[in-house]
């Protein structure tokens, strides 16, 4: 296979050349931290994040130290530059991700101390803490996530999102059985034990709702815990979560969980209706179809079950809030808000 061999060699040579060029470029230029912050603020997120993620730590530390004297807009851009590098490193190098989260925290400290009464700065800081723990939850760094949540609550007491994260962390990190209850559904687990194990999470969700009685995500989690604990309040909680939800993900999950409650109450036709409502809200999410197909089967409607199964495999499946509910998901709306704030003058 001489042609293949030459092609391979050529590719290797090209790759080496590119690598050298990059190395030369990196070494030829000083580590210009300011330039990357400017690029990020100007909307060149990919380039700035990609370059900073390749830097060694020392010039980054120098860059952060030099930025502490910058104005608010540059500080916000620098915070989000580090946050985006952290987000992009989570899957590959947790140590790098944590280093950049800590760099962002240091800059946030500066922002907070510089303008303690500036509502814009305060809002940015609050939202950053509503994002950062979600990054760590995705990779199950629960201790670090809990630590960030507490730091956020120290800055913004009674923040409903942070109390909700705290409850979710309890769901994810409790004793093994608790984790199973929170994340899976297959194992026998007495409702009384579920209730006891999840009580600290319940308390956090109640605190979130005390701060904002219409905070749908906390109500959703509370409703699900009530379901697991065989508590009659589950249905009312989930219906309230559905009524308060403004995003399709929470609405979808509320329908799924209401279907589950209906199944337990032997209201199978209601369960199927809830699962079909979940499909209507999230037609690109797989779990609604799975739940509905199984329910149609249980009702003896095997042709309907087959139609639902066919629809399930026909959709393009990139995401499903149920997957996020179990393993945590990045708070994307907050990430987008912060990026925009970082690019504002």
């Amino acid at each position: 296979m001489p042609l293949d061999w030459r092609t391979h060699r050529l590719t290797s040579c090209c790759a080496l050349a590119v690598a050298l060029a990059v190395r030369t470029a990196v070494h030829a230029q000083p580590f210009d931290y300011d330039r990357l912050v400017t690029a990020y603020a100007a909307g060149q997120l990919g380039e700035a994040v990609s370059e900073l993620s390749r830097w060694p730590r020392e010039p980054i530390r120098h860059g952060v130290a030099a930025t502490v004297n910058a104005v608010g807009a540059r500080l916000r851009a620098a915070v989000m530059l580090h946050t985006d590098v952290a987000a992009s490193s989570l899957g590959s190098d947790l140590a790098v991700a944590e280093f950049h989260i800590n760099s962002a925290r240091r800059l946030l400290d500066v922002l907070a101390s510089r303008a303690p009464h500036d509502p814009r700065a305060r809002e940015f800081i609050t939202h950053w803490y509503e994002l950062a723990p979600s990054l760590l939850l995705v990779v199950r760094k629960l201790d670090r996530a809990a630590w960030l949540v507490q730091e956020g609550l120290d800055r913004s007491p009674n923040n409903p999102t942070l109390h909700t994260y705290k409850g979710i962390i309890v769901e994810m990190s409790g004793p093994v059985q608790t984790t199973v209850v929170a994340r899976g559904r297959g194992l026998a687990f007495s409702p009384a034990r579920a209730e006891k194990a999840l009580e600290p999470a319940t308390q956090e969700f109640r605190l979130a709702l005390k701060a904002d009685s219409r905070f749908a995500l906390a109500r959703l989690h509370l409703g699900r815990i009530h379901f697991l604990a065989d508590d009659n309040r589950a249905r009312a909680d989930l219906e309230q979560a559905l009524a308060d939800a403004t995003d399709p993900s929470t609405q979808y999950l509320a329908h799924l969980f209401l279907g589950e409650v209906a199944e337990r109450d032997k209201r199978q036709a209601d369960a199927l209706r809830e699962y079909e409502a979940a499909i209507a809200v999230g037609p690109r999410y797989q779990t609604g179809y799975v739940a509905a197909a199984r329910m149609a089967d249980a009702l003896g409607e095997s042709d309907r079950a087959r139609e639902l199964a066919m629809a399930c495999v026909a959709i393009e499946k990139n995401e499903d809030p149920w997957w996020d509910y179990q393993v945590g998901g990045v708070n994307l709306p907050m990430l987008h808000w912060l990026r925009q704030a970082a690019q504002a003058p």
Binding site: R183, R185, E301, S302, A305, V313, K317, W323
Partner: protein, 284 residues
């Protein structure tokens, strides 16, 4: 009149029982039940058995077996393969090889389909007699994500062919379920209703999979190394081929609900494996 027509035109097997549940005229009765029955002695299939060699009870009532045949109907084999992140490298290579081995062992009138699952479930190739298509798709599997085993089994059961072929669902997984919505009991309930034999090749022990094989009259094989996969896949197919198709008309057991079955070979101390029962939906 409607009932006579049904008897004349429909051979309602256990699969058709499930079909029949959707047709009001059959809903409260079952005309004929067909069972895939594996008979082994010392792990080896026992051949040459006839109707009179079997005894069968349906909800405790002895039944007259009408016919026993071996290996006459074509097979519809649905491969449900775990393609989560852990199935990569050598394991993936051996899995693809095992799948190809099985597909090449199919006969001309058999069909195959491929369903892959990680956290997402994909019908990579719907049931087809073009086995090359399945082989081609097998070779392009890209592992990723977590494992929604129970959800995938449910969807595979719902996608079973509704025809006269014998359906084998062959499930391969190398890990535990991490992201399914459905509970084990819900999927097992669906499996009881579907006339599908589920064979399982697994790497780790898993109570759900053991129960799934039990309720469908299938078998479970544990792979101690990836190199075994090809042999186990082929063995699963051979086991299915060596099954008897036992047919009887239920008598004295017309009520809807679960029908518990007991099948034995009258002499010789053979091991008999078949589904433990079937489900009849009541009229609504």
């Amino acid at each position: 009149m409607t009932r006579s027509l049904a008897l004349a035109t429909v051979v309602a097997c256990a699969a058709a029982v499930v079909h029949a549940q959707d047709r009001p005229v059959f809903r409260s009765s079952v005309e004929v039940v067909e069972l895939d029955v594996s008979v082994t002695r010392g792990g080896q299939p026992v051949g040459g058995l006839r109707a009179q060699d079997f005894s069968l009870t349906d909800n405790g009532v002895a039944q007259v077996i009408d016919s026993v045949t071996l290996d006459q109907l074509p097979l519809s084999v649905l491969l449900a393969l775990d393609t989560s992140q852990s199935v990569s490298g050598d394991r993936l290579r051996h899995l693809v090889d095992a799948g190809e081995g099985l597909l090449h062992s199919l006969r001309r009138d058999d069909r195959a389909g491929l369903l892959t699952f990680s956290h997402a479930i994909d019908l990579a190739v719907p049931m087809t007699d073009d086995v090359k298509q399945v082989v081609e798709r097998l070779r392009n599997i890209e592992p990723m994500g977590s494992t929604a085993l129970r959800d995938a089994v449910q969807i595979a059961l719902d996608l079973r062919p509704r025809d006269r072929t014998r359906t084998l669902l062959l499930v391969f997984t190398d890990g535990q379920d991490t992201s399914s919505w459905l509970s084990a009991s819900a999927v097992l309930d669906s499996a009881r209703r579907a006339a599908v034999v589920v064979h399982i090749v697994r790497v780790q022990s898993d109570t759900f999979l053991d129960r799934l094989a039990d309720v469908t009259g299938g078998r479970t094989w544990s792979a101690t190394s990836d190199r075994q996969l090809r042999e186990l896949f082929t063995r699963a197919l051979e086991e299915m081929r060596a099954r008897y198709l036992v047919t009887y008309m239920p008598r004295g057991v017309s009520k809807p609900g679960w029908h518990e079955l007991r099948v034995k070979v009258k002499s010789g101390g053979a091991d008999v494996t078949t589904r433990p029962g079937y489900f009849v939906t009541g009229a609504r």
